[in-house]
């Protein structure tokens, strides 16, 4: 059996004595599309922040492809091949779309803190950036400042920044939040396309998107995973229906 792409082993997090994440166990297989659902305040974003080193875990371990990445700095986690997007759009607003994507490629392409390369002359770097922009469908926005893009375009760019550099494990945090139906379709199509052959963990409120996209679903309620399984299994799980899904499913 191959080793899990991402594994959380009894991860706990306290904020000022209050336990927000109380023993999180989660394992995401290689190339799997895994969704995390749960009511507001269940700790989904906190879990992301713990995995990616934005917060320090209080106890427990996080493994990326079998390697312990617990409490590494965000940039170290990224360098090991795990990349994330944010619920609140987190881009470089005063830089052009092209610069946003190119900056996201720099480390992965081995430039590090170089001050002896001219980025303009690096044809592979620039071509890769152009390709990603084309994939995002933002070609005519290439030179626009990211801060003045429309919301859906910013969300697309957010995903572009996340996947640039070819991280194998991608964490998306509510990629379709606040979007219209057609915009959601565009983003879901984009996610499908750019995460092909990668491991995806996605937090999402839109159940349509979740059941459409995910191979497996975990339900997070009050800092604990109460169920994990295929979409059908999760839908039929009694505890899940009581805790969360019942209310959400009626909307769809």
């Amino acid at each position: 059996m191959s080793v899990e792409a991402l594994k959380l082993d009894n991860v706990k997090k306290n904020f000022a004595g209050t336990e927000i994440i109380r023993g999180l166990n989660l394992s995401v297989a290689q190339d799997e599309r895994h969704a995390v659902i749960g009511p507001n305040g269940a700790g989904k974003s906190t879990a992301y922040n713990l995995i990616t080193g934005r917060y320090q875990v209080s106890s427990g371990k996080v493994f990326l492809k079998g390697e312990d990445i617990t409490n590494l700095q965000p940039y170290e986690v990224k360098r090991k091949g795990l990349s994330r997007s944010f619920q609140i759009t987190n881009i470089f607003p005063k830089m052009s779309v092209f610069e946003n994507v190119r900056c996201s490629l720099l480390w992965a392409m081995g430039y590090k803190y170089s001050f002896w390369h001219m980025v303009g002359n690096q044809s592979k770097l620039n071509n890769d950036a152009e390709e990603i922009i084309e994939e995002l469908n933002l070609k005519d926005r290439r030179n626009t400042l990211a801060g003045v893009l429309s919301y859906a375009e910013q969300r697309a760019l957010e995903i572009g920044i996340t996947i640039a550099g070819g991280s194998e494990v991608i964490l998306l945090d509510e990629p379709t939040a606040g979007m219209s139906v057609s915009e959601t379709e565009y983003i879901v199509g984009l996610i499908r396309k750019v995460t092909e052959g990668k491991t995806l963990l996605v937090v999402e409120h839109d159940m349509g998107v979740v059941f459409d996209l995910a191979d497996r679903i975990s339900v997070l309620v009050y800092g604990e995973i109460i169920a994990t399984g295929t979409p059908t299994e999760v839908k039929e799980n009694q505890a899940v229906q009581e805790a969360y899904l019942g209310a959400a499913m009626e909307e769809h």
Binding site: T52, Q73, P74, Y75, K78, R79, S83, R84, F86, N90, I91, F92, P93, K94, M95, E99, R102, C103, S104, L106, W107, A108, Y111, K112, Y113, S114, F115, W116, H117, M118, V119, G120, T144, V148, S150, Y151, I161, A164, G165
Partner: protein, 264 residues
């Protein structure tokens, strides 16, 4: 004394001037190249959004550290040239005042633009030397310009030029000419009026024994009420008319930069 370099001793003004000019141009070029390197690009990214920079693989601390080293390198060049030019270095060249002046020049010129600090330094030096010869209050005027910049043009002078790239690209710069020319005269009257009032007060307080003063190439009697009333009127009327026209400028600006579909 060190032996002369290629027969040049860098003693005459001309020799020193060309030496400095050479190093300034070379350093400027190197700085520009630095902005085009991976770490230079990431310095922009860290300024823009330090947190996200970490999530694309860069430690913001290291990026800042490398930028700081580069800045230190060029400051070293500047220091060496300063020593050659003035042949003296004192505590004054390292104190807060000096640091503040550099910061002030940067802000006036425009933070975030390559040309910003260059314009800022030129303007600041002009204020200091040219206006410094005309009035004791140059530092006050520099401060006022700074406050004006922070309040109304946080992107600085270069930012003001950069802003106008949008209507120029859209071919609508013509829409701005009329409102701009309308506001020019009342704005000028306001500026002249307020400067004159400041200078009058300064004259009376510090050179009260001299009855006459010269301002803007005109000599007048400071004890008569005529210049006071005249300049006060200029200030007030200029201010009010400017304010009325400022609305027109804002409207024209909105129209000239409006792009359908952008910024929903």
């Amino acid at each position: 004394m060190a032996p002369p370099t290629f027969g040049i001793e860098f003693i005459t003004q001309k020799e020193v001037y060309f030496l400095i000019a050479f190093w300034v141009l070379l350093s400027t070029f190197c700085m520009y190249l630095f902005t085009q390197t991976p770490v230079g690009k990431m310095a922009n990214a860290v300024r823009d959004n330090p947190e996200r920079a970490e999530f694309v693989g860069y430690s913001q601390r290291w990026v800042r550290y490398v930028s700081f080293c580069a800045a230190g390198f060029f400051a070293g060049v500047a220091g060496a040239l300063f020593a050659i030019n003035y042949e003296i270095l004192t505590e004054q060249n390292l104190n807060l005042n000096m640091s503040f002046q550099v910061l002030l020049a940067t802000y006036i010129g425009g933070v975030g633009f390559f040309l910003g600090p260059i314009f800022g330094a030129i303007l600041f030096t002009l204020l200091q030397t040219v206006i410094g010869l005309q009035t004791d209050l140059w530092a006050l005027y520099t401060g006022l310009v700074f406050i004006f910049m922070v309040m109304f043009l946080p992107a600085g002078l270069t930012g003001l030029f950069a802003m106008h790239m949008i209507p120029i690209q859209l071919g609508r710069v013509g829409m701005l000419i009329k409102p701009y020319s309308k506001i020019f005269l009342p704005g000028l009257a306001f500026v002249i009026g307020i400067i004159a009032l400041i200078e009058l007060i300064n004259h009376v307080r510090h050179h009260g024994e001299e009855q006459f003063m010269t301002l803007f190439w005109v000599e007048f009697d400071t004890t008569s009420f005529v210049p006071w009333v005249l300049f006060a009127l200029m200030t007030i009327v200029g201010f009010y008319i400017s304010r009325i026209f400022a609305k027109e400028v804002a409207e024209a600006w909105g129209e000239a930069t409006f792009v359908e579909g952008e910024r929903r």
